[in-house]
Point group: D2
Chain length 398, copies 4
């Protein structure tokens, strides 16, 4: 494996998490130069993480002669410029989520990297949590049958940085901030080749005095007949609620990434120190997270990205995926305005998906609706007469 | 307190639960006569529960000279007739859920009891679980501020009785069976005086070879701005998933009624006997429920009903509530067909609800978006300049 | 069923819970007269619960002509006198836990009721929780095989009433207060016919400036080879931790009665009102209990007591059980002093228990230590050669 | 950071986990040569992990000219020889748990590395889980006050490899296999400078036809007055139960490493593939673990070891710690035989610990036993009169 030398763009919370991950444990890769719009933040950041250089010149950072990967950890409105600079420099580029503010912007970024022929990875960490990865593999192996429904939920009391609240810079509110995670998680569960057809979305500005949504719920219909459902909010009280629920024809998956992970503390008073991202309290019952950069997927994400570069393959999460997510978010915002189901408009590369299987079983000419095991081992069948349309039950040997 | 003598109509699962509850613990009330369409089931039921008489004549059961309450535990298509008989007999009548198959039918039943002037209770057990009652009281006391969102979910692998699967008898599929619970739970949390304005609903028939929906998701918008969300399914794998989640401006409530209630068993093989309603397995990790008739609300429900009769007041759940639930379900079915938001059409008796409160706080002329406590005790304010629309953050003393 | 008219002795927290239970729901039984050492508390209590009479004369209360059951809810040092009065009056007597301060005292009480021939019930509520009852039945039905180990834990920050802290009145500290529950729960799981042979106990006074133990751990060895383990404390932080864990040769049971029962609230500030007995906080994450008198076993306990009287049988929990519990607690206190295993000294009425079964299976002349299912369906056997004493593994068809 | 080139001794499950960790993610370190007693296993292992060389000559492996660290992942009876070879070679050595079969053996190993002056690390992974590390830091920062009690529990249905069952090779049964983890976890919570004074231990051979214990419970008394409690078993049913509970004077910590970590799957039938180490079932409700090598502490453990080498400091877990653990296990086995409290015999290097603090607060000359907040905001004090020894309660302003 080759060690990577990285240009890090951005010194906010996401830059912290990325650098903490890359420099963490026994990692071979290192941030070589960091770009910040503020010299002061750049200095502090490079000292904190032992980074040799920092600059306020984004082009100089991207074109630094000693780096071979560019990581974009900037506010949303600066992604396009950064990605185009990296493409022009012919360097692999990894861009934080959401890829862009709109599908059009994402499309231009996708075109830029494809035309330059550079490796491009979409840094969608929550699709790389260890739990998610194991769950995706189980679903792909057929463990729960056909996926019929996915609920992905991310809610907390609101972002830490001022720019997140300014829809002019971000492209929206809670959907652009959190919904992008949920949408891609849903896609990983229903299958990336499963075309998102249309969406219905409701947005509200319930609590915070802002113009954009601080709360949203959306339904996404996929070609297979599966439904994705996301709930995002900046108004949740109690910490960060990060859960995924998946229903399949033969099984169920429930994942809780944050508030109930088998680590519970009660503090009678005073402070327990830093508990977890977006924790709301320092006493009472607290629910810390063990190793956030691992649990939130950052570790496995960068491993996949750097390995994919070496192996000449696509990473699990690509710029095309980021573009699809933006297209779905665009449809969500349209739907919230029109109050109609809105079709997802995108260039689809994913092929065609069959409908969820539903092959009726017959018993003596009647359609089997359900089988139940009785306490004595016999089976109770609920049967439908295709002729009359009537239903009966019958107990048979087990 | 007066002991009640009861006419029980119906000997299915719900009749079992009702009689088990009424005859349970140290209850003073007794079923005096039971009506079943089948003499065989009537005989077995009356013997099982020590009921003096049984009959296949519904009018005789209702008009039995020694009973003073009629409990309707029949399939949906038989509710109207039973309630009208009770009204004609001038007896208090308690009717199982859903009240009717449609709002029109419910309305006729409501009119019948109101015109007869008899006490009428809607047997919506899940609004009476001990957890629900405590949560409703906490919400009404303002513990979590204004309710912004309620998710109520009831999913399992499908009903036990054949008639449940026949939409001609029930009025629909999973919505009529399970959604009625969720809707009334949502109403209890957002406030019964909070008018349900419109709904958006998606239905599917995913797994079972039937004509009606085995899966549905709906959004309900209330006058206050709160959103109710229900998920119902006959395709869930893993037992009975019965959960409610409530978000308020100052707090959160999560209730799990069934699968994770602090009672866990692992059985290496063989059988653990009866585990809980709709449990799917007899070995491996199982999640039994302590006392189902208490946990599912039956005990508190009948207590409220009988006490309300004595105290000359309305019970918590009335026929009017059942009618509102039917009106919302009607709108759900319309919406599933038209794929539009559909208004809830009903005679509203609940008054007017104000919008969820949102009063911006000012700090030196700027709008406070969020306050965060820093580890050193100081506060970080995220502020919006009302003039420029820009956002900044500022750290101040705690 | 006959309605019972009750003499209630005591107006503290336990008297409240008992009366709340008996007068709750649709109960037919009523408290007719209440005795309190304080006229003021007696007046308030009788008004609160609608009790016709109150008195400060215990003999008058017991001998009241219109009552047919005496319930003892007094501090420990007053149990013996109260039970002897009831025995003399020839009335059934139900006594709260612990039965007595020592096995000698318990023995005198047992003799008194046996000589008088009156019904006597031991009000050990935690052996009657709905979860416990279902778990006992599952264990008795063989669901988890032979019970090998039971852990019962009851810890909280300390009692609410002053007298509880005075070992001269109670007979000890946390063991007498809480250990009595744990011991009887353990006995119900390992089998009441399973003789408690000896105990090892450690006590500490860790936090509170008292003379008696505020913390204790004990191991109890039963004739079958099973081990009971209890942990009791008045120093726990976080509410009331009430858990039971049972290991069997074929299964496992975990019960959480209080802090994690599927009911979770987050309150951003202010107060959620009364949360649950011994909750420590009114904001942050809280874990309320639905219906405490049901969840803590009071409802099923009184039902069993009154039904047992009617049916002329023993209740699940008898004075003899209370006496056994006191004998085990006596041995615990001795062991804490001598730092030795101490034998449990009691008149044993429970017969003889066989050892936990352990029949080695043979495979081609070797002893099978363990079987594991491999991912490919084959089985891996771990085998012991009885001749050499050596161990090998071997993979065979599944 | 320097990349390490490693001699791996052993190709069993532990060698797999170690190599998976070292070669995982973006790690810079690599196994250069692997030693196995079996050429066949050595070949397979080196191919599976891309290791350049393998050998059946342990001395050749240790003395390999291109390696600079020796990792011992061999059965217990081979640790001493391997460590002495590494010491003789002057190479840093990391040895798996338990360090040795007895304290005497551990002491010889400790002497060997100290005399050779080589870095020596004790590979106690469960003291390095992300949850454990965060909890240790919280405790060290005083978040829960003085630690009074730690329960550490590790139970599962028994080891996968034949040699584990042979006490002649391992030094015992479940205590040597699992208790060593629990003991060191307990030490990390109560403080490594807190001298273990004496132990009381019970062992049983309950289920498996072996000579050593398949079940054990022990109490460890520390100089501060804290109590450690461990429960280990090879007879648990339901998977691997790996939990730690910590009580402090001001707080509580509960950690569940395996069975309830926020990842739940229900599989209706068939198989979900590999679920987690020692999972017992492939259908029904399953509780997988996200990333086992991270969650079980292997990642942070090797990071600490290699960083400690670079920084010239001791790792968190040293050979001295391993020796202390062996000394405590020796005392456990003695106690199980003598049925007495047995003192822990060891050369203590940890200094002296003060007693858990207990400073009584006074209120108007009375000792404050407890303060409770009443619903109306006032405080209820429970007070002891130091003169009379009597207890009273008093309500005061909040």
């Amino acid at each position: 494996m080759k060690a990577r030398s990285i240009t890090m763009l951005g010194t906010g919370l996401i830059g912290e998490f990325y650098t903490m991950t890359i420099h963490g444990q026994r990692g071979r890769d290192r941030v070589r130069v960091v770009y910040s719009r503020s010299a002061e933040r750049g200095t502090a950041f490079s000292e904190r993480w032992g980074i040799p250089e920092h600059t306020t010149d984004i082009a100089a950072a991207v074109n630094h002669p000693d780096t071979d990967v560019v990581v974009v950890g900037l506010p949303n409105h600066l992604h396009e410029e950064a990605v185009k600079l990296a493409a022009a420099a012919g360097k692999p580029v990894l861009c934080t989520k959401p890829l862009a503010r709109t599908a059009d912007e994402a499309r231009r970024m996708l075109d830029a990297v494809e035309q330059a022929g550079v490796f491009a990875g979409y840094l969608e960490d929550l699709c790389y949590t260890p739990k998610s990865l194991k769950a995706f593999r189980a679903v792909q192996a057929g463990a729960i049958g056909d996926v019929t429904w996915v609920r992905s939920r991310e809610t907390h009391p609101g972002p830490h940085s001022a720019w997140f609240w300014d829809g002019r810079l971000t492209g929206g509110g809670a959907i652009v901030d959190l919904g992008c995670h949920c949408i891609e998680i849903i896609r990983d569960f229903v299958g990336k080749g499963n075309r998102p057809v249309e969406v219905m979305c409701v947005t509200d500005t319930l609590v915070h005095p802002i113009d954009d949504e601080d709360n949203a719920i959306a339904l996404i219909r996929f070609e297979s007949g599966a439904t994705g459902q996301f709930e995002v909010s900046w108004t949740f009280r109690g910490g960060m609620d990060l859960r995924d629920e998946v229903a399949g024809t033969h099984g169920t998956i429930w994942i809780n990434h944050f508030l109930r992970t088998g680590f519970e503390m009660f503090i009678a008073g005073g402070s327990a120190g830093y508990v977890a991202e977006k924790a709301e309290a320092g006493s009472g019952w607290l629910f810390p997270v063990g190793d956030e950069v691992s649990e939130l997927g950052y570790v496995d994400m960068f491993t996949d990205m750097f390995r994919a570069m070496e192996e000449g393959r696509l990473p699990q999460e690509t710029f095309y995926d980021g573009y699809v997510v933006n297209a779905i978010m665009d449809a969500c915002y349209r739907s919230a305005r029109t109050r109609q189901w809105e079709s997802v408009q995108l260039e689809w590369r994913g092929g065609v998906s069959p409908r969820i299987a539903r092959v009726p079983e017959l018993y003596e000419g009647l359609i089997v609706i359900k089988r139940e095991i009785l306490p004595d081992g016999r089976q109770k069948l609920i049967l439908k007469d295709p002729a009359s349309g009537g239903f009966v039950d019958r107990v048979v040997a087990g």
